[in-house]
């Protein structure tokens, strides 16, 4: 390629060299260059191979529509893939050509720091060309807060525009006007919500703008024309050739053919000649108009009605084959073919939010309809106004269309589009999905209009019968690093920790995430694996005493004269009959009768309850309470307050729990007679006012110490000291899960999945039988919820006592699994009976066990089912889902 910088042309700063590397070679550009212009100035013709066929490809355009010149940046920051036309050259930049597909190294170099900003304005202008700046000036003069986002580093259109620069500088001085250069609108959304991507040398910034009015001044895009080998380096859009010359001072070729359907490309021809290039011919497919006559008078060879049929050359254009209206061919030597198939508005953002297009015959292109979606306004050439009239001409006809490239980034040709139509596809959307045209990074900016024209032609339909395919945000590629901003690592999501968290960390806890909470999963000691640690923790609770941080349990204060009435309607059992000082376990159902959450209610006073929820269900339950109170029962005087963070909870459980709580300095009579199961007492523990609750999720004697969250760490540490003589053992959620499963206590969300009724769990005892209504009650007598063969909770004992079944394993009939050759066995596929919901190794039982939901489970007690495991069918005995202390003898200690 013979590109070079021409004296007297362009507005780059020639006094400021900018060194950079490309594909390992050292080059020098100038301040104000893009990477594309710098490469062209250095004579780099081939930027990257094409993605599918590996054909050499060079810079095709000067803007966002670029389908060829994709690069990976490795310095000064990492970007997996960007068009070289949109990269502002900076000192030390390092780039590598990429075949249209980015790659993510496992250990990528640093990306630019990124941030998010929010802004509210009356007017947001997308596009800082003449029309956009005029709209911004107008809005600013009315006193609007204004943001102008322009995707280039300079103000004004692609060609140098001194007036635009002046206007932009003046606007930048105004209050309430924010001028954002190098800022691309990624998408326009409902109600004037626009996402912008600002790129500075220091940082990426994602702007979330809510605008009363969005002005789209996004300019226009030039269409290419497809001809044989029209993808070779040296075939470029005519407008881009002129931009490289007039803005960057780069001459893209010495011997040029200009191939056009419209008069604008004559400007490129004149500029090329003025800059010293030889314009071999202006090939104008339209009958000569006044522009052609003027050019001819000025000495240009204008070939009316001709076309470019092909180019010769492999890694660069060496010659062009021109074809006359009568089919005569003429070969001319050339190193540049500047192509213009006409212009149409750049309507990507507008279409993506649902803006309609209509076919404009004068432009032979698609323009926005007059009625833009809410809050949107389209101005300037983005409306189609001022664009050159053009004859419709998508490709040069030929016998062989297999090298007439339409979508350069998908290596798809006119022949591929025609073949799609010939298979019976009639919609451009279907052709898009067969050919993948328009699905690449450039989203078909140069190929979409061509494809629609070819489809219409192949179907024998009118021009403009179908338009380009839908557009979607983001309008241009954006890196995940930019979108993520600071929301990475520890800042990805808020982490909720209890006041005892630091103690857990200091004592080697391994944590699990429960919603946003960090809960100790287990406290392994030196050398212990997790299984051994859980085993030890479970044994301690069963044999002596353990302690659990239960502060994460959701707690809701339900207060008001009608609190009891309200809770009666929310729970399957009655809370109104609960005495002050007592506690009751409750189940909450959805309207569909399915178990939604569980927990206990403590009656604090006649009109006040403290209700606990599952750790993950707290906000759902609060939302649900508020929904019913506001939307159905506004007459009830009830107030719900989340107090999860206000309370900290230390759960002391095991045969020695009473001794430990007493030793921690407790002024409440802890004897079973004075303080029975499912009661609470207010008192003092470790010098701190404490509400002590006798509830148990392990089956052992347990005291939950509820204290002000500020004091809970102190109470925890006091309990640990008091319990040391008893070998008190902190345990985590996994041991808790094992212990509760040994007792057959379900975990909502683990043993249930939103399709489980109380009866399915064997918990009909908690559903009251009187006539009063509660949420979900009516659904329990629906035919589907009352049919006999529903899945029911059972226990499983694997015949292999060491086999821990995988949770989620499917269970099949014993007969089906063992006697498959028997003629009486069920036909394959063997139906599943259900699945394992919880599965553990039990210290207390000395074996493994599981809970499962299986069809007609209670009728199967004593029978054998088989679990599907990776090592084959595992036989299991079906048993009642209570493995430990079924008579509840241990809970009083």
């Amino acid at each position: 390629m013979t590109s070079r910088r021409v004296d007297g042309w362009g507005v780059v700063d020639r006094a400021t060299p900018v060194p950079f590397t490309f594909d390992g070679g050292a080059f020098e550009g100038r301040a104000g260059d893009t990477l594309a212009s710098a490469l062209l100035a250095n004579g780099v013709g081939v930027v990257a191979p094409s993605p599918i066929e590996g054909r050499p490809r060079g810079v095709f355009s000067a803007g966002v529509e670029e389908p060829n010149a994709f690069v990976e940046l490795t310095a000064p920051w990492f970007e997996p893939i960007v068009p070289a036309t949109m990269v502002d050259l900076v000192r030390g930049l390092s780039a590598h050509g990429r075949p249209g597909v980015g790659r993510l190294p496992l250990d990528p170099p640093p990306t630019r720091p990124a941030d998010h900003r929010h802004a509210h304005v009356e007017t947001l202008v997308v596009g800082g060309g003449g029309a956009g700046l005029a709209a911004a000036a107008d809005a600013a003069s009315r006193g609007d807060r204004v943001i102008v986002a322009h995707d280039r580093a300079w103000w004004g259109g692609a060609l140098p525009d001194g007036d635009a620069t002046t206007t932009a500088e003046r606007l930048a001085c105004e209050d309430d006007v924010t001028m954002l250069a190098s800022t691309t609108a990624l998408g326009v959304y409902d109600d004037g919500y626009v996402i912008l991507h600002e790129r500075t040398t220091a940082a990426d910034r994602i702007w979330h703008v809510r605008a009363r009015r969005v002005v789209l001044a996004t300019g226009a895009i030039e269409r290419p024309i497809a001809f044989a080998d029209g993808d070779r380096p040296g075939v470029m859009l005519a407008g881009a050739v002129r931009v490289y010359l007039e803005r960057f001072g780069v001459l893209c070729g010495e011997r040029a053919v200009v191939f056009t359907t419209n008069h604008w490309a004559y400007g490129t021809a004149r500029a090329l000649r003025d800059a010293g290039a030889d314009v071999v011919a202006i090939v104008d497919v339209a009958p000569g108009g006044p522009t052609g006559q003027a050019a001819r008078a000025d000495g240009f060879e204008v070939l009316d009605g001709w076309a470019v049929a092909a180019v010769d050359g492999d890694r660069r254009v060496e010659a062009a084959v021109l074809v006359a209206p009568d089919g005569t061919e003429r070969r001319v030597e050339a190193d540049l073919v500047a192509v213009s198939g006409g212009w149409h508005p750049n309507s990507h953002l507008y279409r993506a939010i649902g803006g309609g297009l209509r076919y404009d015959e004068a432009l032979a292109g698609w323009v926005p309809t007059g009625d833009a979606p809410d809050r949107l306004e389209v101005v300037g050439t983005a409306t189609g106004e001022g664009l050159p009239t053009s004859v419709p001409y998508a490709f040069t006809p030929a016998e062989d269309l297999t090298r007439h490239y339409v979508d350069l980034q998908r290596d798809q040709t006119v022949a591929d589009v025609v073949a799609s139509v010939e298979t019976g596809l009639r919609s451009v959307e279907h052709v898009k999905r067969r050919t993948y045209i328009g699905t690449a990074i450039d989203q078909g900016r140069t190929s979409g209009a061509l494809t629609a024209a070819i489809v219409n032609d192949a179907l024998g339909e009118a021009l403009g019968a179908q338009g380009p395919t839908n557009a979607r945000p983001p309008a241009v590629p954006v890196s995940y690093a930019a979108l993520a901003g600071r929301d990475r690592g520890a800042l990805l999501d808020p982490a909720r920790t209890t006041p005892i968290h630091d103690w857990h960390v200091d004592h080697g806890a391994v944590f699990e995430n429960v919603g946003q909470w960090k809960r100790p999963w287990s406290f392994p000691r030196d050398g212990e694996d997790l299984d051994a640690a859980v085993f030890r923790e479970c044994r301690a609770v069963r044999e002596s005493v353990g302690v659990l941080d239960a502060s994460t349990l959701g707690t809701i204060d339900v207060t008001g004269p009608d609190a009891a009435t309200f809770l009666d309607r929310m729970y399957t059992n009655r809370m109104s009959t609960l005495a002050v000082g007592r506690i009751r376990y409750g189940l909450m159902l959805g309207l569909d009768g399915m178990v939604m959450d569980d927990g206990v209610a403590m009656r604090v006073t006649d009109d006040r309850f403290l209700v606990t929820t599952t750790t993950g269900g707290a906000s759902t339950v609060l939302d649900r309470f508020e929904e019913w109170l506001q939307t159905e029962w506004p007459d009830l005087r009830v107030y719900c307050t989340s107090v999860t963070e206000q309370w900290g909870t230390v759960a002391v459980g095991g045969p020695r729990a009473r001794d430990v709580v007493a030793a921690a300095g407790c002024d409440v009579d802890l004897s079973a007679d004075a303080f029975p199961f499912m009661a609470w007492r207010d008192g003092t523990v470790a010098g701190v006012p404490t509400r002590i609750a006798r509830v148990s999720f392990t089956g052992e004697l347990s005291y939950e110490l509820h204290v002000d969250g500020r004091h809970v760490a102190h109470v925890w540490e006091t309990v640990m000291r008091a319990g040391a003589p008893f070998g008190i053992t902190p345990y985590g959620t996994e041991a808790m899960h094992v212990l509760r499963a040994e007792k057959g206590y379900v975990i909502v969300g683990q043993d249930t999945d939103g399709t489980v009724t109380p009866d399915d769990l064997g918990m009909s005892w908690i559903v009251r039988r009187d006539d009063s209504d509660f949420v979900g009650r009516r659904s329990l007598s629906r035919p589907d919820t009352s049919r006999p063969d529903r899945k029911q909770l059972v226990g499983l004992l694997p015949i292999d006592r060491d086999l821990r079944l995988p949770e989620g394993a499917h269970l099949v009939d014993g007969r089906a699994a063992t006697e498959v050759d028997d003629a009486a066995s069920p036909a394959r596929p063997v139906p599943t009976l259900g699945h394992v919901t919880s599965s553990y190794r039990s210290a207390a039982l000395g074996r493994t066990f599981a809970l499962a939901m299986i069809r007609d489970g209670r009728a199967r007690l004593g029978s054998t089912v088989h679990a599907a495991t990776a090592s084959g069918a595992a036989p299991c005995e079906v048993v009642a889902p209570v493995f430990w202390d079924p008579e509840d003898r241990r809970r009083d200690g």
Partner: protein
């Protein structure tokens, strides 16, 4: 992102809200008096019009109040939002 006018707080971004489905579907006075079919209709069946309809929203991350809205399902445009104790506006878009 939709801009939703909470009757209590004014215009706020959609992410502050939770959607609540069709509005004015009252919980039956006595569910036990309903046939299975009537209960199933209440439980499962909702309108699904193209055009304006009445729906519920919950200002989860704001005032935590439920309110109703008339929104055009074809354009996403809100015709009106109104408090639970206000009469619903006409459905003309």
């Amino acid at each position: 992102m939709l801009l939703i006018r909470c009757p209590w707080c004014g215009e706020r971004d959609e992410i502050e809200f939770r959607y609540g489905g069709q509005a004015h579907v009252a919980y039956p006075h006595d569910p036990s008096a309903l046939s299975d079919r009537e209960w199933a209709d209440f439980l499962f069946m909702r309108d699904n019009p193209k055009g304006p309809w009445r729906e519920r929203w919950f200002h989860t991350a704001g005032c935590r109040r439920w309110f109703n809205a008339v929104r055009d399902t074809a354009t996403h445009r809100f015709v009106a939002t109104y408090r639970l104790d206000e009469d619903p506006p006409e459905l003309a878009s």
